[in-house]
């Protein structure tokens, strides 16, 4: 499906990203120049969006007006089905959150990260000794917590299985990061890569609490972003489907 507007937004965005990368590598004098270029590109993007807003609205109106009553009916039917699906999705996600006691888990992990960090300061993480790190990690994480985290992780995976809209691989990756080390004994094959990356970051001197904190925030953001999006979508569909609004929404 062609989408020239999307292509244009992506192209400008790509140029901005490229400039940002260059900015990191350049000297401070050149950085100022690149900063100005980024600002220029951002203005270009804003201008483009301003310019296309009205033509886009008018073109869409025209296409909607040309639709046959059958097509409009079909669309409304599709929206009704979508509404049911979104409601189910939201319910599952909300259930999932309650079930997981997600907040508690994050709290636990963040607190745990402080202990891990304290422990980290007592051993030399820069010698690249994975085993030392993992052994010390185990000392402060009692077996019971391994099991709780394993259970939470498995249930979390199960409950997002097949749920539309969630970036499952990203979610799993983040989750793996968070429990890397903790799950070493029970799911070694699954977390090997994540554990390695996490350890590399630790060895590079990044504080464990920072790593876990970032990941926890990312997960939280992902879930909230998804819920917000679904709720907005649901609101739009509800407005569209409310009888008095159907004709106005479709024909305007």
């Amino acid at each position: 499906m062609p989408n020239s507007i999307l292509d244009k937004i992506n192209q400008i965005n790509l140029e901005i990203e490229q400039l940002k990368k260059e900015q990191e590598e350049k000297s401070s004098l050149e950085k100022d120049w690149i900063k100005a270029k980024i600002a220029e590109k951002e203005v270009e993007l804003a201008d483009f969006l301003d310019r296309i807003a009205i033509p886009l609205k008018e073109a869409v109106k025209k296409v909607i007006k040309e639709q046959s009553p059958e097509n409009i009916e079909k669309f409304i039917e599709a929206k009704k089905n979508e509404k049911i699906k979104i409601e189910q999705n939201l319910l599952s996600i909300k259930k999932y959150r309650e079930f997981q006691q997600y907040g508690e888990l994050l709290y636990k992990l963040i607190n745990k990260s402080i202990e891990i960090e304290e422990m980290g300061s007592k051993i030399d993480l820069h010698d690249g000794s994975k085993t030392t790190f993992m052994n010390k990690l185990k000392e402060i994480l009692p077996k019971a917590e391994y099991i709780i985290l394993e259970k939470t992780f498995l249930e979390g995976q199960e409950s997002i299985k097949g749920k539309e809209g969630i970036d499952k691989s990203r979610f799993t990756r983040h989750f793996n990061f968070v429990v890397a080390g903790v799950l070493e004994e029970v799911m070694p094959e699954l977390i090997e890569e994540e554990k390695f990356i996490t350890l590399k970051r630790v060895e590079a001197g990044i504080e464990v609490s920072q790593i876990i904190g970032e990941l926890s925030q990312d997960i939280e953001k992902d879930i909230w972003k998804f819920i917000k999006k679904q709720e907005n979508k649901l609101e739009r569909i509800n407005n569209l489907l409310s009888r008095k609004n159907i004709n106005r929404t479709v024909h305007e």
Partner: protein
């Protein structure tokens, strides 16, 4: 891009496809916004 060019791009789309077209634009804009 003017109205006619946009219209040419979407005139043969169904309503669902038009909605997807608009959603893709909205999402890409959101990505730019979130990246800032």
């Amino acid at each position: 891009m003017n109205e006619e060019e946009i219209y040419n791009e979407i005139e043969n789309m169904s309503l669902i496809e038009v909605e997807k077209y608009l959603e893709d634009i909205e999402n890409s804009f959101e990505e730019v916004y979130h990246a800032k």
